[in-house]
Symmetry: C2
Subunit: 191 residues, 2 copies
DNA sequence: TGATTTTCTTGCCTTTTGTCAAGTGAATTC
DNA sequence: GAATTCACTTGACAAAAGGCAAGAAAATCA
């Protein structure tokens, strides 16, 4: 049994399965590290990483029509990281996934994930629970972005994921919140 | 074999399984109709409907802090309709789902869905494909809403789901786009 | 250490969107 | 069919956010 305690704990928090099932699932994952600014996924590649992020901060981003980077989402410690479209549909990714800080965690490939999905009923429940959890998070984000001013969105981010404001540069946060750098800088000043 | 041709076609478009598997899955669904303005789900209930919408237009909405209705999402023909948090986590819903026009389709309950999930491998693939599909749609919506002006968001909706603009009242669309009724009315005028 | 680049802040002005309130017209009701 | 309600529009003004450019501060590099 390798040292995947945090992953086992994460699995047990996501779905009601036995500890030994959780440990067997965790066993299938492989340790990975990423340096600051290293990419987990480059656009136009087919993603093959389903990652549990144990330490660090990552982001996913793409380029808008003017060629500007738009940060779509941040990933914090103790969450899964994957580009769902590319990973599950086996198509080239439109987005990039990049480590903001040094990161470490455990990954499995698409092939490994499917083998588990077919062989281990407990993993099916885990897989579904993760999809449901991430889907809900995406919907919540939708709701939190619309019908709110930039200031409220910023305050919400401050309250829910302060590590992002600590570790990510202003321009990543600005594009994530849908405002310009200038506007975010001014918002900050008034708080 | 009842008349569920559109559902079978829908299933076959979502996941690569055999026609007979798709027909067996469709068999488990039950026909339902909803009158205009009728609710599929009221807030504070636990959702028990996983619905394939064959005809009509629906929306999901909740109330903001000022007690105003906020339309979160629209559901169009030939899509699935469910409140993921309440349905999968068996918790009371914070959202309402309501028919805008007269609607018809086919539903299954949580219990029925899980029985299929455990007994029919083809349904597992279907279930996962639906979650992936809806998750991607949610992410796309996120991306389409941020970093765009209200006018661009409106034009995008016009291009992608014109039936919404045809059948939903202005106030539903305005809150969905995150603007006031007045602003949407003015946007329309300039087009 | 000093030079260079990158990140962030700020001022000035414009555009977008919101607020509030009044008004029109259509649909519904009694 | 008059009254009421509902959906939408419009005007006048206010607030929020953006565009652009200059400059300060911080990080990186040589």
């Amino acid at each position: 049994m390798s040292n995947k305690k945090s992953l086992v704990t994460f699995i047990l928090n996501v779905v009601k399965i036995s500890k030994s099932d959780a440990e067997q699932i965790a066993e299938a994952f492989h340790f990975v590290e990423l340096k600051e600014k290293e990419f987990l996924l480059h656009e136009k590649q087919v993603s093959d990483d389903y990652l549990y992020l144990e330490n660090g901060l990552m982001r996913t981003f793409l380029y808008d029509l003017e060629g500007e980077e738009i940060t779509i989402d941040f990933f914090t410690e103790n969450n899964v990281v994957f580009e769902i479209t590319s990973f599950f549909n086996r198509v080239r990714s439109e987005a990039n996934i990049q480590a903001i800080t040094k990161c470490s965690g455990y990954r499995i490939s698409y092939k490994e994930l499917n083998a588990l999905f077919h062989d281990k009923p407990a993993f099916r429940d885990f897989g579904r629970a993760i999809l449901v959890k991430e889907f809900i998070a995406s919907q919540k984000r939708n709701y939190g972005m619309i019908n709110r001013t930039a200031k409220e969105r910023y305050q919400n981010l401050l309250a829910t994921k302060p590590q992002i404001l600590r570790d990510a540069p202003l321009k990543f946060i600005a594009s994530y919140l849908g405002v310009t750098d200038s506007t975010l800088s001014r918002l900050r000043k008034n708080l």
